[in-house]
Symmetry: C2
Subunit: 345 residues, 2 copies
C-alpha cells in the first residue's frame, strides 16, 4: 500500500520562506521559542497563523517525545471485542479516565494473530506514550512487542508468561471469587457441581478453575464435571451440553462468565432442566446479561469499568513518574470479587 | 498530564556513537541509505542491530509522511459505540479491509463533544494517513477538523453540512429503503402507519422520514404519527409509548432502526398490542437483533459490514492516487436497500 503525502498541509518550509528565516528557527519557535529574538519570534508566529500551519507532532515528538495518546490493545479479534460486553465496559472505564486527563484513547483493532506484527510496528513507531493491553493468552507475542517498543505498559489481568514478574497489572481476585460461587452452591445443598471454564491459557480462567477446586476440597474434582466454554455464549451452550451428557446427575454449575452462562441456560432449558429447581447456576462478571437472563443470574461481581479506570490511572501515574518511582506508588492492583445472589442459584 | 520520555528505547544518538558517524548519516541509512558509502552503511546497520534500535516513525514520517495507519472517528460516546451493533458491524468491514492492506486501524474513542478538540489535535499531528468518520450530526465540528488536518477523509453516511459537495462518502439509499418499508405495510392493509425516526440532524434519519412521507403521498403524514427515538433501544420504547398515547388507532409502525424496533416491541407488548395481528412493525438495518426479536422482525436490509469495507476501500484508493485522480475512480458510493419480510409486519 503506497500512501500519498498529505498534500494540503502547509509545511515548515513554507512558514520559513514566508517569515524569511531558516527552518531551524521556525522549529525553535514552534517548540517554545527559546533562544529566538522577540521580533523574529513574532514574525514566525504571524507566518504560522497566516498559513494555518499545524506543527506536525511527528516533528514535535522528536523534541518532546510525547504524543498525548495511549494505545489500547485487546488480544482478540474485532468480532469478539464487540460481541462481549466485558470489553465495552472495560473500555468505558479507560475512556473516561483518559478523557479526564486530556489523553487520547487509540484502540488498535485486529483480525487475526497475523496482525500482531503490524501492531508491534505501530507501537514501536512512537505514535503513543504508553500501552494498555488485555485479554492476553499465554503464548501471545504482544507483551514481547510492547517490551521491545520501550513503551510503559499496564496489563489487564495477571500476566501468566515467564519474565513478567515486574509487570504492572490490574486484576480481580478470581480465585477467591470462584470459591465464593462454589461455596454458595454447596450451602444451597448442591452435591454434584460442574464448572464451565474459559480458555485455560488465560490466567483469569485458570485462577477461577483453581478456586472451584479449592471449594470442593478435600473431595477432588471429577474431570467429567469440567468443560471449556471459551468465554463465548455459544461455547457455554456447547459446554453445558457436554456436561449433561457426561454427568447427567449434576445439580449445580459454576459458569466462569455471564456470557457463557446465558448460553448454558439455553441448553438447560432445551434439555428440560429447571433453574434453579433442578440445577443451580452461578455466573461470573455481573455485566448486563446477568440481569436480563431468565431467571436472573446469581453471579460473582467484578467491577469491570473500575478495572479499566484503574488500569488507565496506573499507566498515567507511570508516565508521570517514570520507572524510578517508589514501588508502593507503582504496584499491581487486585480488587475484590463479591457474590451477588439473584434467582438462578 | 506530563508524560515522561520512553527511557528504554535506544536513541539515534546511541546508534551514531556506536557506529562512529553523525546523526545525519544514521538518519540517511535508516531512511533508505541514499548517498551513504556501502562500508559506512554496513557499520550503521550493524549498530542498529546490536542496540535493537527501532527507527522512530515520528522521525521517519518527517521524510516519508506515512504512518501506515488510518484513524476511525465515530461521533458518538463510547457507550453508544458498544451498545449499538451497527457500529461493531461497520468496524468489522473496515477492520477486515484495512487488515488485508496491512494498514493499522486506530479507533479514536470519545466521551463527550469536549473531546473533539483533542481528536482534532491528534489528527493534525500526523499519526495517521487518512480518516474514516461516521455517525455525524449536522453541527458536528469534526468534519472541519478533518479538513483542517489536511488528511484525506471518507464519511459514512451522506454529509449534510454546507460545503460538503466534494466530500467522499458511502451510504445506502435510505429514502428508497423507507419507501419499501411503508409500501409493504400499506400492501398488508395497514391504514394508520406511524414512524419512529432517528435524530433528524443526521441525514440517514431525515432521508428515511422523507421516504416515509413519499410512500404516504398524496395523503399527508399526520404529525401525531411521527416520534423521534434517537436511534437507541430506550428511545424506541419511549417513542412507541408517545405514539400510542397520541394515536391509539395506529395499526402499523415503521421504526428507523432495529435497535429502536426492539424497544418498540417491548412497549407494544406492555400495552397488550399483538404484533403483527394488531400492529404491523417494520425495522431498518437487518442486524442481529432483528432475527432475535419476538416475533422476528420484518426489516430493511443495508449491508453494514460491506459499507465499512467500501469506506476503507475508497480511502485506500484516495491515499494511493492522491486528490488528482479521475473523478470516476473517486466518487461517493450509494448502495441499495432491500426489504426482508419476516413475521412482525
Amino acid at each position: 500500500m503506497v500512501h500519498a503525502s498529505n498534500e494540503r498541509r502547509p509545511t515548515l518550509e513554507a512558514v520559513a520562506a514566508r517569515a524569511g528565516v531558516s527552518r531551524a528557527t521556525v522549529s525553535r519557535v514552534v517548540n517554545g521559542g527559546a533562544g529566538v529574538r522577540g521580533e523574529v519570534r513574532e514574525r514566525v508566529r504571524r507566518a504560522v497563523t497566516d498559513l494555518g500551519y499545524v506543527p506536525n507532532s511527528a516533528a514535535r515528538s522528536l523534541v518532546t517525545r510525547r504524543t498525548g495518546a495511549v494505545a489500547v490493545v485487546i488480544a482478540e479479534p474485532e468480532t469478539r471485542v464487540f460481541a462481549d460486553p466485558f470489553f465495552g465496559r472495560q473500555l468505558r472505564g479507560i475512556s473516561r479516565e483518559l478523557s479526564a486527563a486530556d489523553t487520547q484513547l487509540l484502540l488498535l483493532l485486529q483480525e487475526t494473530r497475523a496482525d500482531h506484527e503490524r501492531i508491534g510496528r505501530y507501537l514501536s513507531a512512537g505514535h503513543a506514550d504508553g500501552v494498555l493491553m488485555f485479554s492476553l493468552h499465554r503464548d501471545d507475542p504482544l507483551p514481547a512487542m510492547a517490551e521491545a517498543s520501550g513503551l510503559p505498559t499496564v496489563y489487564g489481568g495477571r500476566p501468566g508468561w515467564a519474565g513478567a514478574e515486574d509487570a504492572l497489572y490490574v486484576d480481580t481476585d478470581n480465585r477467591d471469587g470462584a470459591r465464593q460461587a462454589v461455596r454458595h452452591l454447596r450451602a444451597r445443598g448442591r452435591r454434584r457441581i460442574a464448572v464451565i471454564t474459559g480458555p485455560l491459557d488465560q490466567t483469569s480462567a485458570q485462577d477461577r478453575l483453581d478456586g472451584y477446586r479449592d471449594a470442593l476440597a478435600p473431595a477432588a474434582a471429577d474431570p467429567r464435571l469440567i468443560a471449556d466454554g471459551g468465554f463465548t455464549a455459544q461455547g457455554g451452550e456447547r459446554a453445558m451440553a457436554e456436561l449433561l451428557a457426561a454427568a447427567p446427575d449434576l445439580d449445580g454449575v459454576f459458569v466462569c462468565s455471564d456470557l457463557m452462562a446465558s448460553g448454558a441456560l439455553r441448553t438447560l432449558r432445551a434439555h428440560g432442566r429447571r433453574v434453579p429447581e433442578d440445577v443451580g447456576v452461578v455466573g461470573y462478571d455481573d455485566l448486563d446479561p446477568a440481569a436480563w437472563t431468565d431467571p436472573p443470574l446469581t453471579t460473582v461481581r467484578q467491577d469491570v469499568e473500575e478495572m479499566g479506570r484503574l488500569m488507565a490511572r496506573l499507566l498515567l501515574r507511570r508516565l508521570a513518574t517514570g520507572p524510578g518511582a517508589a514501588r508502593d506508588e507503582l504496584a499491581p492492583v487486585v480488587t475484590a470479587a463479591k457474590l451477588v445472589v439473584r434467582e438462578s442459584g
